[in-house]
């Protein structure tokens, strides 16, 4: 479903502070299933997720989503892909402070111009399934770590994207909440969604629902086990 071929990503290219975040990455991710990217800090995990989710263009190489090469598409097509194909849970969740949980969850649906009542009902259903229905009107800064993470997941799923991308989703969570997160992932897998996430956490790599673990080192994908 997603293939990366000789993908490289450099920041500040040609300058003294150039950073080679990814180099020669080749990866094929099948539809459905759960993939974990692991690797030390600075190995390029977050950059790789950004490239996969069309949030950053590769400096070299090709990225294809559902058979279509997207790495050279104009920005408006990439936006369309981000809207319809991907839901993203950021490392620090990146909910917008000052807005309620519901308003945050509804944000990805704004440009789609859907009927507000129907979208709000869908958001409430998703929040209900994640145990956050009663917090829907609360500003997000008052949520606990686990609640914030679940609100971020609800936002990522509001447009029914088939691929969920999560960057270190359990980095700030305790064992109980990590277990709860894995339950949610298992539920998404059961819905037929593809989940790609990065993690330092051995509990994630070894979890029962994880289908594949890829190892990233110095910007390259190693021969990580499945």
């Amino acid at each position: 479903m997603i293939t990366l071929q000789d993908v490289a990503k450099f920041y500040n290219e040609g300058r003294p502070n150039e950073v080679r975040a990814l180099e020669g990455v080749n990866l094929a991710l099948a539809r459905g299933g759960v993939t974990v990217l692991k690797g030390p800090s600075g190995s390029g995990k977050t950059t790789l997720l950004s490239v996969i989710a069309c949030m950053a263009r590769p400096s070299a190489g090709r990225v294809a989503v559902a058979g279509e090469v997207v790495s050279s598409l104009p920005e408006r097509y990439l936006t369309e892909l981000r809207r319809t194909m991907f839901g993203f849970v950021f490392q620090r969740f990146n909910l917008i402070r000052g807005l309620s949980v519901l308003d945050n969850v509804l944000l990805p649906s704004v440009p789609l111009g859907g009927e507000r009542g129907a979208v709000a009902a869908r958001a409430m259903a998703r929040l209900g399934a994640l145990g956050l229905a009663e917090k829907a009107q609360m500003p997000v800064e008052y949520l606990s770590g686990g609640e914030t993470q679940r609100a971020a997941i609800a936002r990522a799923l509001i447009n029914e994207a088939p691929i969920l991308i999560a960057d270190e989703p359990t980095a700030n969570l305790d064992g109980h909440l990590t277990g709860r997160f894995l339950e949610i992932v298992a539920g998404l897998k059961a819905e037929g969604k593809t989940v790609i996430m990065t993690s330092h956490d051995p509990r994630i790599w070894g979890a029962a629902g994880v289908d594949r673990v890829a190892v990233l080192e110095d910007g390259r994908v190693g021969a990580g086990g499945a």
Binding site: S50, R76, R97, L107, V110, G113
Partner: protein, 380 residues
């Protein structure tokens, strides 16, 4: 269309929620912006209203005034000139006018003393009608107080005040004293057969140039002042005063533009990150700009409305207290008259273009720069 409207509604909803998060900052911005709009709008409304008043006054004025000049200065004109003017083809009528200025040593004010125009009942001997500024300047304590004026030879003359003109005519009547011809001639020791000037009415105003030419041949020493010339003088005077105020308001606007540009170009890291987040979750550059347009419309539209309404109240209800000295000019006898609202779509459009557009442009450019970057870069 339905989809577009729903999208705009969703964007407006989000904008409102986002604006509410920075309530203090946005209220301060609207307040500063409103003051700028208020200053510019007051200047425009005031000058336009004065022009309208002046045009209304001029509409009733004679098409031409004839004055006698000696050594380049105005002198009294002889009654024979009236007959000479009446004889010119195209002249509908010519009347000698008697008016002059009286310097009141008591309060340093100048009064305009005139004889009631032809066709209007003149006051009885020893009686006058006066403008509303005179009782104020003289400190009259009761309505029927007589008016004492120092006559040309130096003695005092008492006049009974029949009527005080209302403020609706104050633009032209504030300093006026109207009396009958005999009292006027006696007061100024003016012999019969002499007039201050001559008011000429013509049958066809488009012929005024030809009539002036003919009149100049009959009265080579005279000066001919047409209504159009007076109108142009008024126009220049108001434009000059409006210009002063507009320059002041322009300086305020420039300061505001710098403030707005600084605010916009200095997009905080938080704002830039938020734009990155919105792009990452599926908003495109147009969505971000549309949202910011809604925000700009909310701030600049709100300030435009507040500033314009405040200017309306200031100029037409409060008499333009703040700018009146600049726009009306200075005088001991200050005309205290209500301005008639004279606002048109062109004025409001100009005001909008001068205020809303620069703000929107100043805000949108840096937003566009951030919004057109990759989400990953915008968030970093």
């Amino acid at each position: 269309m339905k989809h577009w409207l729903r999208r705009q509604r969703a964007l407006a909803d989000y904008t409102l929620a986002a604006a509410a998060r920075r309530k203090g900052k946005n209220i301060a911005l609207v307040a500063v912006f409103s003051v700028v709009v208020f200053a510019v709008a007051s200047a425009m409304f005031f000058a336009a209203a004065l022009r309208t008043e002046a045009r209304a006054v001029l509409a009733a004025a004679p098409e031409m005034i004839v004055q006698k000049l000696t050594l380049g200065r105005q002198e009294m004109i002889e009654a024979e000139a009236i007959e000479a003017l009446r004889a010119i083809r195209g002249v509908a009528g010519a009347e000698g006018r008697l008016w002059g200025y009286f310097y009141d040593r008591i309060n340093g004010a100048n009064y305009t003393i005139m004889v009631a125009p032809a066709g209007e009942a003149a006051p009885a001997p020893g009686h006058v009608r006066i403008g509303e500024a005179i009782p104020k300047a003289r400190g009259f304590t009761y309505a029927t107080a007589p008016l004492f004026l120092s006559r040309h030879p130096g003695d005092l003359q008492k006049f009974v005040v029949d009527q005080t003109f209302g403020s609706e005519s104050a633009l032209v009547s504030a300093d006026l004293v109207v009396m009958n011809e005999a009292d006027f001639r006696a007061f100024f020791a003016l012999p019969a057969g002499k007039f201050t000037d001559i008011a000429v009415r013509v049958r066809n105003e488009r012929e005024i140039g030809t009539i002036v030419e003919k009149a100049a041949r009959v009265l080579p020493e005279a000066r001919f002042v047409t209504r159009a010339e007076i109108g142009r003088t008024y126009e220049k005077l108001f434009s000059w005063r409006e210009g002063i105020l507009t320059a002041l308001a322009g300086a305020a606007m420039l300061a505001f533009a710098i403030f707005a540009a600084e605010k916009a170009s200095g997009l905080s890291a938080e704002e830039a990150r938020e734009i990155g987040i919105l792009k990452a979750i599926g908003w495109d550059t147009r969505d971000v700009i549309a949202m910011k347009l809604w925000e700009g419309a909310l701030i600049s539209g709100g300030a435009f409305l507040i500033g314009t309404l405040a200017a309306y109240g200031h100029v037409f209800l409060a008499g333009g207290t703040l700018f009146a000295p600049v726009l009306k000019g200075w005088a001991v006898l200050y005309p205290d008259f209500p301005l008639t609202p004279a606002i048109d779509a062109l004025q409001l459009t100009t005001l909008g273009l001068l205020t809303v557009v620069p703000y929107t442009a100043a805000v949108l450019v840096p937003i566009w720069r951030v919004a057109s970057a990759d989400p990953d870069r915008a968030m970093r």
